[in-house]
Amino acid sequence: MREITYRQALTEALTEEMERDPNVFLMGEEVAEYNGAYKVSQGLLDKFGPKRVIDTPISEAGFAGMGVGAAMVGLRPVIEFMTFSFSLVAFDQVVNNAPNMLTMSGGQLHVPMTFRGPNGPAHALGATHSHATESLFANFPGLKICTPATPRDAKGLLKTAIRDNNPVLVLECEMHYNLKGPVEDEDVELLIPLGSAEIKREGSDVTIICYALTVPMALKAAEELSAEGINAEVLDLRSIRPLDLDTILASVAKTHRVVIAEQDRPVCGIGSEITYQIQHHAFDELDSPIIRVTQEDVPMPYSEILEKAVLPNSEKIISAVKRVCNI
């Protein structure tokens, strides 16, 4: 298979869906003339014109809400947040308007739209610019959330998100934009269903549950652990909502030990939810307590060495695995 970057994969997904459906448009800050702050919309203005690729002022609540309104009357907006740290100023539009319209209108209105953009900590951006927002949005029924880690998943999930009839958040991994990986040729229609996890590495001794930023870390940890005779299974959630509980439980039934490697903050994070689900559905399968590897529970500092100390990494995952394996 050809290899392309995570960024190119996203651009392809947008291009293909905009070609397929004239109701799909892209709106956000610097998406058009600047070709995207992170260049995900590179070339889209030239290809589709200013009617379908729209630069906005710095008004996240406003254009997020415009997306919801346009979706209410039948368009399929793709709203880019320059980063999801900036979705916090549009929070009410994303969590109160988008997911509630179907209920409030008694089923008369639905909101087929996509919110996308880089999410999660990057490098030395400090406390306000490093948010991993997945657990905040996961609390809201009516939203769907995916967190692709690889170019293939990025393309397949974004395409599916755009076709979904509900508000979907595609939380892209800022640190993976330049990451290359195998993706089907452009003539292949690549659609990856929301709510389906993927075993990125088969294993039998322990399950490392991860997503987005932590997937490469988990795979690296698994490699190093195999050298020490520990055979770790790496489970990439890919979607946060809906959650692929079947795949999770099947893996736990096989390994009986779980480490959750997550890019977000610990309290009420993704790992806490998965822990509840596992102990609830597979209590007797667990041979030892689940350990989560998360950000340290502090606001993100600028200093690179402090930031490194805050973030999860493969060493932290390895030591967690050893603890759940009682080594």
């Binding site: 308007n97 179907l102 409030m104 008369q108 509900n166």
Partner: protein
């Protein structure tokens, strides 16, 4: 003027009467605890919804805040389905899932009923964006309160409506109060309409109590928007007779102030004008009023006798076309 404008003055009068009588019933039913949650009455402001909506085409989009009974009724949503919605019944205009603050009638292009102050203002911009995107000559009208102009989402939306030249009309129903806060205590300027200057937006103040004046002033604005695709900001001067919601005693204003405003009652005003102009007799008026009262009474009976939403439907409105768990 759009098609609906064929409506005679009598129709206009009747629509206002219907809203008035419907809400009087609703308020009575609320006091009898047949209706729950927050319930905001439109009484006193009827001319704004009725006048503007009768100028619009039926396919123009409208969207408003939580004080939405009048807008739905003026758009033609039946009193039955409105009262049933207040009762939380499956036969309600939002299937009993929305309640007083969330009346929706998409078939009639009424897009709610929104309870977060100014939260719907960007939605209106998006709806107008969509009709422009599809090269329709549709106009979107967004109603909001005088208190809503101080929300960030209002600001961001008006700036973009102007920048993108969206065919949207923002109508501030200035009933002078946001809950207990008089507009003088919420903005530093004298007139709400001046806010438009910060966006270089076309604006106008219209009389919200004299429905025929209102329609006369509003019609050319709608046509301008339809033609130029440029937004307008409108301040409609009106007044609410009742408390902010059913639970508000409205002690922040004097009886005198209230009575003074009631002298410009939009229904009485049109009634008197039409009688003087010999377009209406007192008998005919009483007949119309009787009919309106009857419809309101019947709507209560309809609501009472309607079914509750089925429990198992609870899981059908989280994801479109999907049932959760």
């Amino acid at each position: 003027m759009g098609k609906e404008a064929k409506n005679t003055d009598i129709d206009i009068l009747f629509q206002m009467l219907l809203i008035r009588r419907f809400e009087e019933r609703a308020s009575q039913q609320y006091q009898q605890q047949k209706i729950g949650g927050f319930c905001h009455l439109y009484i006193g402001q009827e001319a704004v919804a009725v006048g503007t909506i009768n100028v619009l085409r039926p396919d123009d989009y409208i969207i408003t805040a939580y004080r939405d009974h009048g807008h739905a009724l003026a758009r033609g949503t039946s009193a039955d389905s409105c009262m049933a919605e207040l009762f939380g019944k499956a036969s309600g205009c939002s299937k009993g899932l929305g309640g007083s603050m969330h009346f929706f009638d998409v078939e009639r292009h009424m897009y709610g009923g929104h309870a977060i102050v100014a939260g719907h203002v960007p939605l209106a911009a998006g709806m107008a964006f969509a009709s422009k995107y599809r090269d329709e000559d549709r106009v979107t009208v967004c109603y909001l309160g005088d208190g809503a102009i101080n929300q960030g989402s209002f600001h961001e939306s008006l700036n973009m409506a102007g920048l993108f030249e969206l065919p949207v009309i923002y109508i501030v129903e200035n009933n002078q109060f946001a809950m207990g806060t008089h507009v003088k205590r919420s903005i530093p300027m004298d007139k709400i309409v001046d806010r438009a200057k910060g966006y270089g937006m076309k604006s106008a103040v219209i009389d919200g109590m004299d429905v025929r004046n209102l329609m006369k002033d509003f019609a050319p604005i709608v046509e301008d928007v339809r033609k130029t695709k440029q937004p307008w900001f409108i301040e409609a001067e009106t007044y609410r007779y009742r408390g902010h919601s059913m639970s508000d005693p409205a002690t922040y204003r004097t009886r005198e102030e209230l009575e003074k405003h009631k002298e410009q009652d939009p229904i009485t005003k049109l009634q008197d004008d039409l009688i003087t102009e010999k377009l209406l007799t007192q008998e005919k008026f009483d007949e119309l009023d009787k009919k309106a009262r009857q419809i309101a009474v019947d709507s209560v009976r309809f609501a009472e006798s309607s079914e509750e939403p089925p429990l198992d439907e609870l899981y059908n409105y989280t994801y479109y076309g999907e049932t959760v768990k």
